[in-house]
């Protein structure tokens, strides 16, 4: 078995290639750095492993996401590298390739987007390119999978050459510095010293850190200083080492590229630019974004999602329930088992499953936005607004992903380069209303706001965003001062989303929801039902005397000022910490109804519309779910910030619900 690492610039079709080589279900996106996790797939030969690394321009990292790659090269065993290149941006892509060749591992190159290059009038002589780099180059079309089988064979077949590792001569001073480091490190490490030295001179903090574990820190500093001084004396210029190295590489690349490509002028305006003239237009950019969001919500909640959910609901409460009843009767089940299954499991799990269509529609749109390349434009369009609250446009992307699920949203914050903005984005992403909160809204708007379903739900989403923006402003003025925010974003060309990739991406995101319904929600429903079934006075007690009522009753008075001081509400809020959709299951079980429609009828007796809105706002903000809290802890590495993210959310939720409920009452609303 071999470990093969897939590496390349962002937006070169790396993730599509990964999918085509491994045939695994993988998340495909199009904005800078969608691969925030390290993923491993098995080649179609069933043996070798392909490791998907985040997209990087160079091995010298700027963001944490890119640091993953440097760490991989320093700490992990792998046999080969598969480097994917964008043929239309060969010069920039080759900077990374040169560094890979300096590392000295066997490299195979997959040359993607030859069609795009051709449209721009660039012809590439693959044999020449392969010859001048000293490695195999294979043309592929990552999106359609053409050429991938050949590439897979090339990669997984036995030994491969390491290419030329001395393509660039960096000048006397730097080459001498490399030799000196070689002498110092002789026999002490397994990594290629030439690569380490060049990364060190370029200012790669990870490599420096690594070298400090082997050599005394003063010696390293001394080496860097002496090379810098020598270089500046030799060249008689004030250029820093990293600039010199970059320039030398560029010169070498120019030679390679001009030998291997021919270019003709092509005056055709690409379609991407025509589209961009509209969607990033001075006046139309923001309105277009808002309209798209509105259409997305209307489809999810009103036009398409609601009818589908209703149909599913009537199936669950009709044929399915009567079928189970009949089957249980035939098996001779006792009333206990019958109640457990119908009032516990069917009510709890069914109550969540009903919302699968709506959640899939939402995930479909998020996938569509990612896959088409529009996400990066959203970041551009929103940058001015985000800048005014101390963030940058890129922070909007984790938030958008957070609408689907907060966990990947928080992980996506890794592509944000400055630590301060990254932390803020992590803290604020849980305020984005994730799909698990959607069932709660759907239930309540169905009961109380039938006429304005989509508008009311949209208002909650907007509420989350507005609170996040206000808090960003507050945090950047108080807790997280200093550090200027910067923003540079690559806008990849638009791509027509492919049905297969879209479906994969949607399914990949949505399946977690379905899986959770079958595992955790199932277990939770059984537990909640038991707690509601038993009480201090025995089993099969009246619900108001159950353990659940007792438990909920303790905290109920706390929630009275914000409109829902019932034990049922506080009991469901508890389960909501584990997973937001558990709130629905709990309510279904507590109110002892088999389906959504009758629950809505019952709710009307327990809540006023105002209290219902206050409850929804509270659910939106009150606490990140358990998985999100764990992710925040993993990503920040700080107990303090994790605790802070929980505490501030509780405070904000309570205050806001208080304002909504009491303010609404003062205004005469009910």
């Amino acid at each position: 078995m071999m470990n093969i690492a897939l590496i390349g610039n962002p937006n070169t079709g790396k993730t599509s290639l990964f999918n085509n080589l491994t045939g695994s279900y993988e998340y495909v996106g199009n904005w800078s750095g969608v691969t925030v996790e390290k993923k491993v797939g098995i080649f179609k030969n069933g043996k070798d492993q392909l490791i998907d690394l985040p997209g990087v321009y160079t091995l010298n990292p700027l963001s944490k996401d890119e640091g993953v790659v440097t760490n991989f090269f320093l700490n992990e065993p792998f046999e080969k590298l598969l480097n994917i290149l964008d043929a239309s941006q060969l010069r920039r892509n080759l900077h990374l390739t040169l560094q890979l060749l300096e590392y000295g591992a066997p490299v195979i190159i997959g040359l993607n987007m030859l069609d795009v290059a051709k449209n721009r009038g660039i012809q590439i002589d693959i044999a020449k390119l392969s010859e001048s780099l000293g490695v195999n180059v294979a043309p592929v079309v990552a999106r359609s999978g053409k050429g991938c089988d050949e590439l897979a064979e090339l990669v997984t077949a036995g030994a491969v050459g390491t290419g030329k590792n001395n393509l660039v001569y960096y000048g006397k001073a730097i080459e001498a510095g490399i030799l000196e480091l070689e002498n110092k490190l002789a026999g002490k490490i397994k990594h290629p010293v030439r690569w380490l030295a060049l990364q060190l001179f370029e200012g790669n903090p990870y490599v420096k850190n690594y070298l400090e574990t082997i050599l005394p820190i003063e010696e390293i500093e001394k080496l860097i200083n002496s090379v810098t001084v020598d270089q500046q004396q030799n060249a008689d210029s004030k250029q820093a080492l990293d600039q010199v190295i970059h320039r030398k590489r560029s010169e070498a690349i120019d030679k390679i590229v001009s030998a291997a490509t021919t270019k003709q002028e092509n005056k055709k305006v690409p379609l991407t630019e025509k589209v961009d003239m509209v969607v990033t237009n001075k006046f139309l950019g923001i309105p277009i974004f808002l309209v798209l969001m509105y259409v997305m919500f209307m489809l999810t909640f009103d036009w398409l999602g609601f009818p589908l959910s209703d149909a599913l609901d009537s199936f669950l409460s009709g044929p399915l329930t009567s079928g189970i009843t009949a089957a249980l009767a035939a098996a001779g089940a006792s009333t206990f088992i019958k109640d457990l299954i119908l009032d516990g499991i069917v009510a709890g799990v069914g109550g969540v499953l009903v919302f699968v269509p709506q959640i899939f529609i939402l995930f479909f749109f998020i996938s569509l936005l990612e896959d088409s390349g529009y996400m990066a434009r959203v970041a551009l369009v929103m940058d001015r607004l985000m800048e005014s609250v101390g963030l940058n446009g890129k922070a909007f992307i984790p938030m958008m992903i957070g609408f689907g699920c907060n966990v990947p949203g928080i992980m996506a914050a890794r592509t944000i380069e400055t630590p301060k903005e990254r932390l803020m984005t992590i803290l604020l992403t849980p305020l984005m209303s994730c799909s698990a909160r959607l069932p709660v809204y759907a239930l309540f708007v169905g009961a109380f706001f039938v006429e304005q379903k989509a508008a009311v739900v949209l208002s909650l989403y907007v509420l989350g965003v507005v609170i996040a923006l206000i808090l960003a402003k507050v945090f950047s003025k108080t807790l997280l001062k200093g550090e200027t925010s910067v923003f540079v974003i690559e806008l990849p060309p638009y791509r027509l989303p492919q049905a297969r990739a879209l479906w994969r991406s949607t399914w990949d995101k949505g399946k977690g929801f379905v899986k959770k319904a079958g595992t955790f929600i199932f277990a939770g429903s059984v537990l909640i039902w038991l707690l509601a079934y038993a009480g201090p006075e025995g089993v099969n007690v009246s619900m108001d005397d159950s353990y659940l009522a007792l438990l909920g009753g303790i905290f109920a008075p706390l929630f009275a000022p914000i409109g829902f001081g019932t034990w049922q509400a506080s009991a469901s809020l508890f389960t909501g910490f584990l997973a937001k959709e558990a709130i629905i299951s709990t309510m279904n079980i507590i109110y002892f109804v088999p389906d959504e429609a009758s629950l809505q009828g019952l709710l009307a007796a327990h809540y006023t519309p105002l209290a219902a809105y206050s409850f929804m706002a509270f659910i939106l903000l009150y606490i990140p779910c358990l998985a999100t809290v764990a992710t925040i802890y993993k990503e920040t590495g700080s107990r303090r910030w994790t605790a802070f993210s929980i505490a501030y959310a509780l405070v904000i939720a309570y205050v806001l619900s208080l304002v909504i409920y009491q303010g609404g009452r003062l205004l005469g609303l009910t």
């Binding site: 925030v36 996790e37 390290k38 491993v40 492993q49 490791i51 985040p54 944490k64 640091g67 993953v68 760490n71 991989f72 700490n75 992990e76 903090p205 990870y206 850190n209 098996a331 001779g332 089940a333 006792s334 206990f336 088992i337 457990l340 299954i341 499991i345 966990v407 992980m411 890794r414 630590p419 959770k516 595992t519 955790f520 199932f522 277990a523 939770g524 059984v526 537990l527 584990l578 358990l626 998985a627 764990a630 992710t631 802890y633 993993k634 990503e635 920040t636 590495g637």
Partner: protein, 53 residues
């Protein structure tokens, strides 16, 4: 009677297992499912990354 015990046992057994798995997974975050977890630097060694900078 036997059917009752069988169904009840299956439900409670599965529920207990699912609950245990969920809590364990949630606490570990996404790393639990990763095959190169042992040497993965993207998720599990945040403390190491914090030293740099």
């Amino acid at each position: 009677m036997i059917a009752n015990i069988l169904i009840g046992g299956a439900i409670f057994g599965y529920a207990g297992w699912a609950f245990y798995r969920f809590i364990k997974k949630s606490k570990e975050g996404k790393c639990a499912a990763c095959s190169i977890q042992s040497s993965c630097s993207s998720n599990c060694s945040v403390s190491q990354e914090k030293k740099i900078k």
